[in-house]
């Protein structure tokens, strides 16, 4: 009880501090120098319609590299810990016929939608992270429809390694052929607003999407438990 009272006291103090910051906060009326540079020079320099994509892929490309590395480490540790403790739960109730048919019908459509989201990342909202999450949710639909089926990790690890390797290679290509690491001006910018434009940005984002999709899929598979190391069920 005294713990709870202390927590409330602490939070009240934090609340006062935060709201006193809020009371003096004034909304800016114009962009600061960096953002203004990004917004106004990016369409001519790189040719991507979506400025957020340009920032994520090129201007702050190292951030993205670090981010996928963290995600990779998290998925490796999740897979390792789940492998150490083999799950021996009873076989779960199978999905109904309608769900199985619907899932196998929807699986390619959701994959196609995920690919659409990350190929169009430089033109409209969306990109590699969203597309990867959509691909992982397609996988989740199939494992929810067939909870007792064995799905191997190897395929996802292969896709993950290959796309991560290609991502770094593209970054080094930018270093050699253009201005710096992950610079997208290796290819010509093309017509503004077309799918094949913005230099290397769509190519890099496709590989980021594949990498994120494979990592999230392997996290989902490890936590679900019916993967390698678990009990093998014959259908």
């Amino acid at each position: 009880m005294i713990k709870k009272a202390l927590a409330v006291l602490l939070l009240a103090q934090l609340c006062t501090i935060l709201f006193s910051f809020l009371s003096v906060y004034q909304e800016p009326t114009s962009l600061n120098a960096v953002s203004s540079h990004y917004i106004h020079n990016e369409p001519k320099e790189l040719g991507a319609a979506n400025a957020v994509t340009a920032v994520v892929v090129t201007y702050r490309g190292l951030d993205t590299l670090g981010e996928v590395t963290i995600l990779f480490a998290a998925s490796v540790v999740v897979g390792l810990l789940m492998f150490l403790h083999k799950n021996e739960s009873a076989p779960r109730r199978d999905g109904s016929e309608l769900l199985k048919t619907g899932a196998s019908l929807l699986f390619p459509l959701i994959l196609l939608f995920g690919a659409y989201v990350f190929i169009n990342g430089h033109l409209s909202p969306g990109g590699g992270f969203q597309g990867g999450a959509i691909i992982a949710s397609a996988l989740m639909l199939t494992i929810l429809a067939n909870p007792n089926r064995h799905v191997g990790h190897g395929f996802f690890w292969a896709i993950e390694s290959i796309s991560g390797f290609v991502f770094v290679l593209l970054g080094i290509a930018g270093l050699v052929l253009a201005g710096g690491f992950l610079d997208s001006r290796v290819l010509p910018p093309g017509t503004f607003g077309h799918v094949a434009s913005a230099g290397l940005i769509p190519v890099i984002y496709i590989f980021v999407g594949l990498k994120v999709g494979a990592e999230l899929s392997s996290v989902v598979l490890s936590l679900h438990g019916k993967s390698e190391g678990g009990v093998q069920h014959h259908d």
């Binding site: 619907g102 019908l105 459509l109």
Partner: protein, 106 residues
């Protein structure tokens, strides 16, 4: 053109209202799933048609959205009802027939 879109949007919101009313009025989970799924499917299709009238160049994407909803909405409601049945959520007192029970027992 805009008038048609506005009327369709109004119809869609009426359908959504009826669906929400059914959610409150129906006696048990299964009937609630009925009202919510059927009415929201129709309501979403009407709303998409309204948007297609307001922005004619979005029509192909909206058609894809309608197709996707027609595929997913029945499946998801079926799965929710099945999960509720196997979790032994009670049927309403006025239910006259339980075919799944007959099938599982017989």
């Amino acid at each position: 053109m805009e008038m048609t879109g506005a009327i369709l949007l109004l119809l869609a919101s009426i359908v959504f209202l009826v669906s929400a009313l059914g959610l409150v009025r129906m006696p048990d989970v299964y009937n609630r799933i009925q009202t919510s799924t059927k009415a929201t499917t129709l309501g979403t299709i009407l709303a998409m048609a309204a948007v297609a009238f307001l922005h004619p160049d979005w029509t192909p994407k909206l058609a894809l959205v309608v197709l996707f909803i027609l595929l997913t909405n029945p499946i998801s409601s079926h799965v929710v009802a099945r999960a509720a049945y196997f979790k032994r959520v009670k049927l309403s007192d006025r239910t006259v027939e339980d075919q799944l029970k007959d099938k599982l027992e017989g």
